[in-house]
Symmetry: C2
Subunit: 438 residues, 2 copies
């Protein structure tokens, strides 16, 4: 009989408490699946007094994360404190350097220090598992690391932030403004008091950096991700998307191109018929394009205590079973530097919405400026804000115009729109949203 | 340096040839991921002469599957011949009894002999991997076996047969009959000359039996699956589904109930908003409901040479990495006999379509018969086949009537409809389709 795996957990919030509970209640199933028992032997958290609804008797309380990480009585250190810096970073490093395995849900830590930590794991023989860091219980890490072991990945993209998808879904379905939906998301606990990390795309960027490394065998590099958030999205963009056969989602996209690996987070028009377009509310989803095979899409809860704990416990069970996957799928020596494809060379279709001061003149100016950049227009729609009736005053009111381009380059679009702005035929700044084909 | 994993492949059709090609072209990535090389050293197939577009030089040609299975020079036997009987059965058994690992895509073999084979694997220490047997490259086996290791599953259901989903999608989108769509599916190579295995639900039943075992820790038992196919589905059912907010799919459903495990394959009304309802054409999908967490849905290609080969190669890579999961997730001694929940006690909503000889009289008779069985009606729609105009002849023409019931029991529905038939108020047999809520 193999000795049970002795687990130490740092961080006893909703997720940590649920992990303790699952390991306790699922003990027999976990032992059967893993071939050995799993036991939580030590924990640490900021407050020992806090009520957590879980029985911690018989579990040693350790004074701080570092002491737990290097505790001689544990085999597997579970880091659920969060944050890219200390105490998480030092504790995880110390555990790995002590030859222990680590399970973490900490995307920020991995996006920033993943390579260094993977090196430590490889050097000392411990596992470094982080299924819960991206898409909670959606098995996207396992799928990229093991499930597609023999298949080259050409693109991975997804809805990786439930807050943004909740906001965009509400805006689409109820015609509300970004600000109104954000307020509701905050009231419901889907968004933080300071929502920037979510709505500006940084949370998605951290997760995308991890997926890109697994997909393409590159060194994880959050700094290589181009990021745009959703705060500029207006209800009229969602209405226009609907009219044109698209839905608007905040996507993280990592794609292999001739110029390198593109990693980008931005509001995106996706065809209504795509799997990703069906994903509503706080649900997350990831689509993986493998060489020669139709896309695989994984859909499910991207957050939440129970879903995150489910992934953490599965990772612990893998450690118990003796699985030591390379953290990023390949040995460190195989991981290449990220050859970052410059965003200006991004190729794709574009949605452009602008306010024409005077429609005929503006249409002519835009057509000229786009033609100068060799951009072809797939469709142009002039939208009458008041059903086409001329304003009573007879004064020219700016008219919304929406353009869809055929595939072109980002810098061509930027140049053309800069020229249109210089022409002074539009009011305000144009709205530009990239289109992602499935 | 660990010696490479020596692989023998039995069956060199589209999948087998693609496996050989992938192992060759992805050699470096596979070695990196697995920590050791993977080499195809021996193969067998019916015809040595057949052109396969893949280089077999340097690979030993073995005279028959049994000789390959017990070949002292191989570590891992890959069975791609198909069929629940010999030669696949004997060869897989022999390989496992010789302590080798086995990778197979053979759902029929596993649904019928899975328990016996898992016992042999457990006894002799080999792996038995079969990701490709259900949903090809969709990582559903890995997700149930490893990804949800610590989470109790309450229900697993899915679209597991691309042929049926292709037919239902065409019927829905183009208003065509089952027979027309089947003919097209055959012409396009999506359906066999003898389509019964697919359209009568048996293919789905085999896959469902495998998923149910993994989900619930029961002994795989294809005979415990209730099966209905799609040949009775008419375009008016698809139109009615659409009107009522549903889509019609052939689902395999395994669900834990108070009465035991229900395993059933039948045409099913699913809410249009569900992830599974979005899955069109030959695409497959599986939804897993875990205790306390929102559903996880995996969508992708359920068949095809490249997608199947992708899963086979991932399984081989797991063998190379030394992973020995219990074939059905738990040790044999933990697997329970399937406590089959009788279909008559199935509880759910029902869609019932019948042809009323005379609407007012029929409505009254139906209402009475359903009330006798304590069935509540959620909605009743009388559909005028000719827009409501009375027939010129003045003669009563049968009128389609569609009922949706609230949750009730299967046997109550059967008894009520038998009584309605005895009342002679309807023409022909009623169409009955179960509703699955998400």
């Amino acid at each position: 009989m193999v000795a049970p795996l002795k687990v130490g957990i740092a961080g006893l919030g909703t997720v940590g408490a649920e992990v303790v509970r699952l390991i306790e209640t699922q003990a027999r199933v976990l032992a059967g699946r893993s071939g050995r028992g799993i036991r939580v032997v030590a924990v640490t958290a900021r407050s020992k007094a806090k009520k957590r609804g879980v029985d911690l008797r018989g579990i040693e309380w350790v004074r701080d994360p570092m002491a737990l990480a290097t505790h001689p009585g544990i085999d597997c250190f579970v880091e659920l404190m969060g944050g890219a810096g200390d105490p998480a970073l030092s504790a995880v490093e110390a555990a790995l350097n002590a030859g222990k395995s680590v399970v973490t849900a900490n995307k920020a830590l991995l996006a920033k220090h993943g390579l260094k930590l993977a090196k430590a794991a490889e050097k000392h023989g411990g596992a470094l598992n982080f299924e819960a860091a991206v898409g909670a219980a959606i098995p996207v890490i396992k799928t990229l690391r093991e499930g597609l072991a023999g298949t080259g990945v050409t693109r991975v993209y997804g809805i990786l932030n439930g807050t943004c998808n909740y906001i965009l879904t509400r805006m689409e379905q109820e015609g509300l403004s970004f600000a109104e939906c954000l307020k509701d998301a905050q009231r419901l606990g889907y968004a933080e008091a300071n929502p920037s990390f979510d709505v500006d795309g940084h949370d998605t960027a951290q997760k995308l950096a991890i997926l890109a490394s697994l997909a393409f065998g590159t060194k994880v590099a959050q700094s290589a991700v181009y990021v745009e958030g959703i705060s500029s999205i207006a209800p009229e963009d969602l209405r226009a998307a609907d009219d044109l056969g698209y839905r608007l989602k905040l996507l993280g996209v990592a794609v292999r191109t001739a110029k390198g690996i593109e990693q980008r987070v931005h509001p995106t028009m996706v065809p209504k018929s795509s799997s990703i377009a069906q994903v509503m509310g706080v649900t997350n989803a990831v689509t993986i394009d493998g060489e020669g095979i139709p896309p695989i899409t994984l859909v499910g809860p991207g957050a939440g205590g129970a879903a995150t704990a489910s992934a953490v416990v599965a990772d612990i069970a893998d450690v118990a079973r003796g699985i030591r996957a390379n953290p990023f799928g390949r040995p460190i020596s195989h991981l290449r530097d990220t050859k970052k494809a410059p965003m200006e060379r991004h190729e794709g279709g574009y949605y452009i919405r602008l306010l024409a001061r005077d429609f005929p003149g503006t249409a002519a100016a835009i057509a000229t400026r786009l033609a100068e950049q060799k951009i072809s227009i797939e469709s142009i729609v002039q939208r009458h804000p008041n059903g086409g009736a001329a304003p009573a005053s007879g004064k020219a009111v700016p008219v919304p115009v929406i353009l869809i381009t055929y595939a072109t380059h980002e810098d061509a679009v930027r140049r053309a729109l800069a020229a249109v702005q210089r022409d002074k035929v539009i009011s305000g700044r144009p709205q530009v949203i990239r289109i992602e084909k499935n």
